[in-house]
Amino acid sequence: MPQGKLCNRQPIKTDEQLKLTLSDKSGKQYYAEMKELDVDTNALWATIQKTMKSRIKTWLEICAHCGMCADSCFLYQVNDCVPEQVPSYKIQSTLGHIVKKKGQVDNEFMRHCMKVAWSQCTCCNRCGMYCPHGIDMGVMFSYLRGLLYSQGFVPWELKIGSGMHRVYRAQMDVTTEDWVETCEWMAEETEEEWPGLTIPVDKKDADIMYTCNAREPKHYPEDLAEAAVLFHVAGENWTVPSEGWEQTSLSMFAGDWECCKDNVNHVYDAIERLNPARVTGTECGHAHRATVIEGPYWAGREDGLPPKPYIHYVEWLAEALREGKLKIDPAKRIKEPVTLQDSCNYVRNQGLKDVTREILSYIVEPGYFVEMAPNKEHNYCCGGGGGFNGIGLYREQRNVALRKKMDQILDTGCKLVIAPCHNCWDAIRDLEEEYEIGIRWSFLKPLIIGMLDIPEGMRVEW
């Protein structure tokens, strides 16, 4: 069969197609169609020739098959150290094979590649740090995902996810009206307690423009209210854009390259339109990677930078605490053993390891912060990164993957885990649901609000 009704090489571009695909419970029909989907081998090879640059070519060539990457991979560790989970094997037997065969591979092989690309690698990039040649299998798997997506071999949820971005310009069905309305609602709900608080939409020339994750307006709008409270208390001149507010990119997880570029350009357009001095996003790892670390290249920006300085939320928070814009009441600091989840996307990939620890130095009573082992750029993925959290087909594998984080947390003896990343937060929540180890987990915003030393009159107690 050439192309299915739901599973095909076309991205989801209309609301109708989106709803149709979504109505296919668990992607049953979608995956059935996938079994019949033809591989356009010529197009596949043409794409490879056009897009596979010297870095990946070299990496595929120079891998010495030494196996040093094996132990670096948490998925190898939690899956009984089977050879099939060694990173170099995983990529050589998938992407390497496709390249060797000049794209002449069949349907069954493509489905095998899909399984490896989305359930045996979270693109956490840890292996790249341990390879003597610096080969980063995570980068290569991201590339492989792009090839698979272009041929229609992508997990159902991620096909829909990137479709959401294309149709709604957000990873969930949150329209511009919904978003602006949510900003008004949260301002309304918060202003009584915090007189003078506003959530300014589309204010030009502000000092800070704030972008977020569509899950927030959709399900947890109090996160936006909390961001507003902290900006308000810090006295920031800030704004949110009515368009281009969604910072995340499920299209990056899906390998929908065209959509990735569109997402990030949409955010950059908002920056150009509103001309803020700086931009900061929410406590999300992959959103930062998509917009700040990789985005400039997708958008073809020669300087490799976003149009304006674009910092992660933890950088803004650390700065506000350092400069005294936000003050912590020492009596309210955390006085229980607490640990920190380092997000791969902005710690390993951008080096923000000291920033989060600086924040903890203000909010945790000395002696109570317990590092996970290993930590910082050596930390393991939460277990749900790279889209793993959202894929029903690989739920079982994802639950096994959570075990590494569970062991790390248990070893700290902490009952409180700070997770300033949506994906990590979700994975740790699921971890608790699945394994019931008796922990609590939190973003930074609510914790900080609870321990602020607030200038008199700024908050009305009620």
Partner: protein
Amino acid sequence: MFNKILLATTGSPASFGAARVAFDMAKRYDSEVTIFHVVGVPTKAFSHVVNDVRTGEEVEVDEEYLSWVEEELKTTFAKQFEGAANAKIVLTTGVPSREILREARKADSDLVVMAASSGENASFHKGYPGSTLQKVAKAARCPVLSVHRESASYWGGFSNILFGTDFSKQAESAFKFALSTARELDCDLTIFHALDISGKVLDQNEIEENLIIARKRIRETYVPLMGDFKNYDIEVWEGTPYVEIVKLAREKSVDLICLAHHTNELDPERARIGSTVEQVILRANCPVVSVSKPDKV
């Protein structure tokens, strides 16, 4: 004043009391009642997979599942639906407290009616500290009526209202609501203050002096606002506030207790210890309405 009632329910027996009151009010006062049910809390991706609020199980929400849930609710409340001309069911997914607030705002509801707890299963609370009721009561623009115990002294309609005050800003709104309800439904209104002496050993003269002061304060604060409304009396007792409120309500066969809600504490354990309104809801024999905002009073 009760044109639009939002009955937020899990459909479990814990919410039957609330449902009885909501439907009774709707029939009596010709209100529109919306049975609002949050099917589940999203667990992954774009909200199609949720933890069912009743079973805690992971389910995929589709048309079929939604119509099954709707049928269940119709069967559960079959008796109440009889004669309720203006009743409809609205289903959604999300975090219950947030979705109740969203719906109340969207529909411009005059009153939210809900149970104090979700009953047997609370697995969906994980990661979302604070009970649904606390969060809704804190942020709702309209009064929130809650029923926890099967309301022994609630026979239908309201005729005897107890307003408990701590003289806070929110109590002004709660008073306005109590007064306008009493006026409109021709009820007796008791204005009550409990002098908090819990855990203290105080000189009796001091207690009595404070009782006199509180009584005077009630007269000065609330009586001028009542105009020609005369069906009221004033009570001031000393003790532990929630205990005294519950005792007085029982003694007077009160059928509605009206209190202000104002706790910043969303941690369920700490809030439960600290909040009078929570304690009253858990113990009272009649519906308790909590008011925190001046919008719908």
